[in-house]
């Protein structure tokens, strides 16, 4: 029942090395493209997109490799964003410390919410995470630190390690790129570690994993916390990039959007969510001149993806060429 994504067909037993090498190549290619991207695209947009891309990758770690569809990931992204914004603005922490604070905060929240939700499976899990996220949203709405609908604004970007001035958009972009690649590479390492292998085994057949003696819940909880922490890293970085943290970040529609990004890019692929994030964010920004139609278009993408595109953009390519991306 936890068979989530129709991913690329299982590779033959001897293939894992080849499999991970194509993924590594894909990451390297992506890194090259992203390093050159400011030549072609607007760096502030790219930096924002990378934050969402990391968020989607973190989410994908849980759904694509762990088979757990969280419908409340905005709680990690949003609360880390608030925490980092508060740390940088009110406590006056330098950006690296603010991001770290936000990330750790999200990790702790992941620990608490994971303890509650991980015992449930499938659709239950989705709805429980959604409800928990809603709880976090209302706390954020009423808390005096978040400034209600105004949000935390004018967050200083500051100087990274006291040296690198982040007020320049291009410098900022490369710092974000470094954080993003760190996050993506961590996910790659997690997925291909023995831990990741067990995780995938649980996704494929939980009962068998249990009968083999694995403590399934512990693995799932660990994946949940890791995913939450990385989502927090993305949210905290976003607070520094966009210089604000608002209720949108923690609202359940953001949880829906990250699912959409992952679905469009390809669940259970290494680089798919990155593409998904770029596509969706570009759509939100550049279709926004179409005004009222944004919501309808997003919904239509959801429907089309589910009905005839379940592997996502990258997933379809990977499947076509019988490789792993």
């Amino acid at each position: 029942m936890t068979d989530i994504a129709p991913h690329a067909p299982a590779p033959p037993a001897s293939a894992p090395a080849a499999k991970s090498s194509t993924e590594l190549l894909a990451i390297a290619g992506l890194a090259l493209v992203l390093a050159a991207a400011p030549l072609a695209a607007y760096p502030f947009f790219l930096a924002q997109a990378l934050c969402l891309a990391l968020f989607a990758c973190a989410f994908n770690l849980l759904v694509g490799y762990g088979g757990l569809l969280s419908f409340g990931h905005a709680m990690f992204y949003g609360s880390a964003s608030y925490l980092a914004a508060h740390a940088a603005k009110v406590w006056g922490l330098p950006p690296e410390a603010a991001i770290l604070a936000g990330t750790l905060g999200a990790g702790l929240l992941g620990l608490a919410s994971g303890a509650l939700s991980i015992r449930s499976q499938g659709i239950y899990f989705s709805m429980i995470t959604l409800a928990l996220a809603q709880l976090v949203y209302f706390i954020a709405l009423q808390s005096p630190y978040t400034h209600g609908e105004d949000g935390v604004q004018a967050v200083p970007r500051g100087k990274l390690f006291g040296l690198i001035d982040l007020s320049n958009d291009v410098t900022l972009y490369y710092v974000v790129l470094a954080i993003f690649l760190f996050g993506l590479f961590s996910i790659y390492r997690i997925v291909h570690s023995p831990f990741g292998t067990v995780l995938k085994a649980i996704r494929e057949n939980e009962t068998r994993a249990i009968s083999l003696g694995y403590r399934v819940d512990q693995y799932k909880r660990a994946a949940f916390v890791l995913s939450a922490t990385l989502a927090g890293l993305a949210g905290a970085t976003k607070a520094i990039v966009a210089q604000s943290a608002t209720l949108t970040d923690v609202h359940w529609t953001t949880s829906g959007e990250v699912i959409l990004m992952t679905l469009v890019g390809g669940m259970g692929t290494m680089v798919g969510p990155v593409f998904g994030a770029f596509v969706i964010l570009a759509m939100q920004n550049y279709l926004s001149t179409f005004g009222q139609w944004v919501m309808v278009i997003q919904g239509a993408i959801f429907v089309v993806s589910v009905l005839s595109f379940r592997r996502g953009l990258i997933g379809e390519i990977a499947n076509r060429f019988k490789i792993s991306l």
């Binding site: 068979d3 709805m127 959604l130 409800a131 709880l135 706390i139 997003q298 959801f302 589910v306």
Partner: protein, 295 residues
Amino acid sequence: MIPLLGITTQALFAQLLVGLINGAFYALLSLGLAVIFGMLNIVNFAHGALYMMGAFFAWFLLNALHIGYWPALVLAPLGVAIFGMIVERTMLTRLQGLDHIYGLLLTFGLALIIQGLFQNYFGSSGQPYPVPELLKGGANLGFMYLPNYRAWTIVFSLAVCLLTWFAIEKTRLGAVLRAATENPQLTRAFGVNVPRLITLTYGFGVGLAALAGVLAAPIYQVRPLMGADLIVVVFAVVVIGGMGSIMGSIVTGFALGLIEGLTKVFYPQAANTVVFVVMALVLLVKPAGLFGRKA
């Protein structure tokens, strides 16, 4: 008047009654969700949007065709049910055999489309819908002024809930339905047209949502996003009751209305969150929900 925790018993009664009225809406909506989940194994994220469609259907009947509230109570759920069945035939049925989350994602997308279209056409602030002539006014109960329409809401939805429960648990049709849920292959072997049963069930669940929408039209503003915020609360109700449990969703719906009503009096800051806190507590003790059988 005996004060209790800083509030008179009279006021307390009033708040309990008001909570029960809200509970009636939770119960109707979560009942529809439970019926659909029980039969199709789909968490119908579009439920809030279909509830909204029900309200707009009633509005349309009144303003375009001058058909009043009472016929709308039948026509609107019927119309939305037909829409739902078309959706089921053309889209949901193609997800059979896939993981449940795809149903959730598809209906989520549908909800966005429906809400977006209504928003474009009707604007964001919505449309007025009057209380039907017969139920105008109200009665002074001594401890509160109870509008007649609210009294009607509670009686009517309780009746619908119990009838549904009876139909599913105590009739032959219900038995077939439960059999088809339990073992579709075997039920088919008995000559039952299971796919048609599934379509009808979806139509019925969706019709319940639309019915709640018509019921809500005279008291809540009829607007495109009226279901969007409600749906998450109803999800929590369903999880607490135990997914797919008919009685569970009815009882939990009413009970949570009461709890929410009490919270609004004693600790209003938590009125938004109390449902989710209750959910977390219930899940700690019973991971499958109060009335659920298995997780």
